[in-house]
């Protein structure tokens, strides 16, 4: 049984903090009530994908290959990069057959 004060600081969630006094305060199962999408993983990014819609054929290979589900399809069927979550890995640009995606350095 621990009596030291433990803090679980979810930094990306804007400083949301839950403080537990002892082990007994913890839930039995490790469940967080904060959804994972509050963490914006985009801060890892050095290069950003830019889609040239004129070349895009809506094949959705980029959407399928994105390992982070960071490409959405908008109401008109165009792929859209979700910039809060895109880590800039470049796989979409690598796989895009019409070469419609370019990796651009972030300033």
């Amino acid at each position: 049984m621990t009596t030291t004060r433990a803090e679980h600081h979810d930094a990306k969630a804007g400083g949301h903090t839950t403080a537990y006094e002892t082990e007994e305060d913890l839930p039995e199962a490790p469940v967080a009530s904060v959804p994972s999408d509050v963490i914006h993983t985009a801060s890892w990014r050095t290069f950003r994908p830019v889609i040239a819609l004129a070349k895009c054929t809506k094949c959705y290979v980029c959407w399928k290959f994105c390992p982070d589900v960071a490409i959405a399809i908008d109401g008109d069927g165009w792929p859209v990069i979700r910039l809060d979550y895109c880590k800039g890995c470049g796989i979409c640009a690598e796989e895009c057959k019409p070469l419609a995606i370019e990796m651009v350095k972030e300033d």
């Binding site: 679980h8 913890l26 009530s33 959804p35």
Partner: protein, 394 residues
């Protein structure tokens, strides 16, 4: 209550049906297949109202079960050997997520060499995962223990997954008479699951979230505490079962003829039946021998082992598996439990029945004789075609 001649596998199927499981997800593997085939038949015939989730591997089966159990469903699956090994990562997950999945495991040797026959390597090698583990001697015990396991696993002070094992072919495919409790009896013993869910539908929850060194250790300590609490709860639950059915299999370490024994053999699974017959035969010849059945491996019955060790000078442990580079797991844990005792009996390891090799009455007789004569190595592989001695270091 009705008596039927059924296999160990069907005993599991009936137990799951009587328990009114809500979710089943499983993948077939010899010699487990008929357990889940029968359950599928129950579901298809409308005799069991359960969601049967078909998956492409045992890994996915356990994942489906963890999700279902974490969300409050009474959940069951079954596997064996390679299938259990494939699940290994998720066995840790089930315990860590405090998902009370109940699983039947047909003990089958692990490859290579490829084998479909029995030994305990598959479940013994899962002893660190945080699962409650039971080893059964008869089809009756398989059915009863599976029902007990549901109630124990789902208990609010436990919330840990539990596995019930049965030796391949010796129980899984052996038909013998089994008392099957009525649905009314089981409904009284095992009401529908009412527990705090990890995540309630309609709320946001993330199970198994990323945790730093500041909190991880406490979560794991909670698992240890729950496992400790389960030991006494098991005794209470078994007393309750006895009130309803008249049957009590004797807790984690039932004993036979140990009170005045000069030597006691500790066994697991079906070898117990053979050993009990040998005890009777040797007692008739004037040899004072006894038997203790290691029924619960997790939590390990340290208290009961120490009680046994206090009254006996010689203990042999019959391991149906071997931990390479060490010794049989049951032997190692028995010795560990006894180390702190004031009276320390001499303990020996008999490794036998590996890969389905028959553990014959003659072999058990030889084990007892070696114990009584204080003769032989500390770790002995019994029944090898060529005699080998395993040298204990130190």
């Amino acid at each position: 209550m009705v008596q039927e001649v059924i296999s160990g596998n069907y005993a599991q199927s009936y137990a799951a049906k009587l328990a009114r499981v809500q979710v089943v997800s499983a993948y077939p593997i010899t010699p487990q297949t008929s357990i889940v085939e029968r359950i599928a038949e129950f579901v298809a015939a409308g005799e069991l109202r359960a969601e049967y989730i078909k998956v492409e591997s045992e890994h996915s089966a356990m994942q489906a079960c963890i999700s279902a159990a974490a969300l409050g469903a009474r959940t069951y699956t079954a596997t064996s050997s390679q299938g259990l090994l494939l699940m290994h990562e998720l066995l840790h997950w089930a315990a860590g997520a405090r998902a009370p999945v109940v699983m039947g495991v047909v003990n089958r040797a692990v490859a290579p060499p490829w084998s479909i026959w029995t030994d305990h390597a598959d479940t013994i090698s899962q002893r660190d995962t945080g699962w409650i583990q039971f080893y059964c001697e008869s089809n009756q015990e398989v059915l009863d223990t599976t029902l007990l396991a549901f109630r124990l696993a789902e208990h609010a002070d436990v919330l840990l997954p539990a596995m019930i094992t049965e030796d391949a072919f010796f129980l899984s495919h052996t038909v013998e008479p089994v008392d099957i409790p009525s649905q009314e009896q089981v409904d009284e013993f095992l009401p529908p699951r009412v527990t705090k869910m990890a995540i309630r539908p309609g709320t946001i929850g993330r199970l198994g979230s990323f945790t730093g060194p500041d909190l991880y250790m406490e979560f794991r300590h909670k698992i240890a505490q729950a496992m400790e609490r389960s030991a006494d709860l098991f005794l209470e639950i078994e007393d309750d079962y006895e009130r309803l059915t008249g049957r009590n299999h004797g807790g984690p370490l039932p004993t036979y003829q140990v009170d005045d024994a000069d030597a006691v053999l500790i066994t697991m699974g079906t070898a117990t039946t053979t050993a009990r017959a040998v005890v009777d035969a040797m007692r008739a010849r004037g040899k004072k021998v006894g038997l203790a059945k290691l029924r619960a491996f997790r939590p390990f019955p340290v208290r009961e082992i120490r009680q046994l060790g206090a009254r006996v000078d010689r203990i042999g442990v019959l391991d149906r598996s071997f931990t390479f580079g060490a010794a049989g797991a049951a032997f190692t844990e028995v010795v560990g439990a006894l180390y702190g005792s004031r009276h320390r009996p001499r303990v020996r390891d008999f490794v036998a029945g590996i890969g389905g090799r028959d553990i014959t009455p003659q072999a058990v007789d030889e084990m007892f004789t070696a114990l009584l004569k204080d003769r032989g190595p500390e770790v002995d592989w019994v029944g090898l075609k060529h005699r080998l001695e395993v040298n204990r270091r130190g």
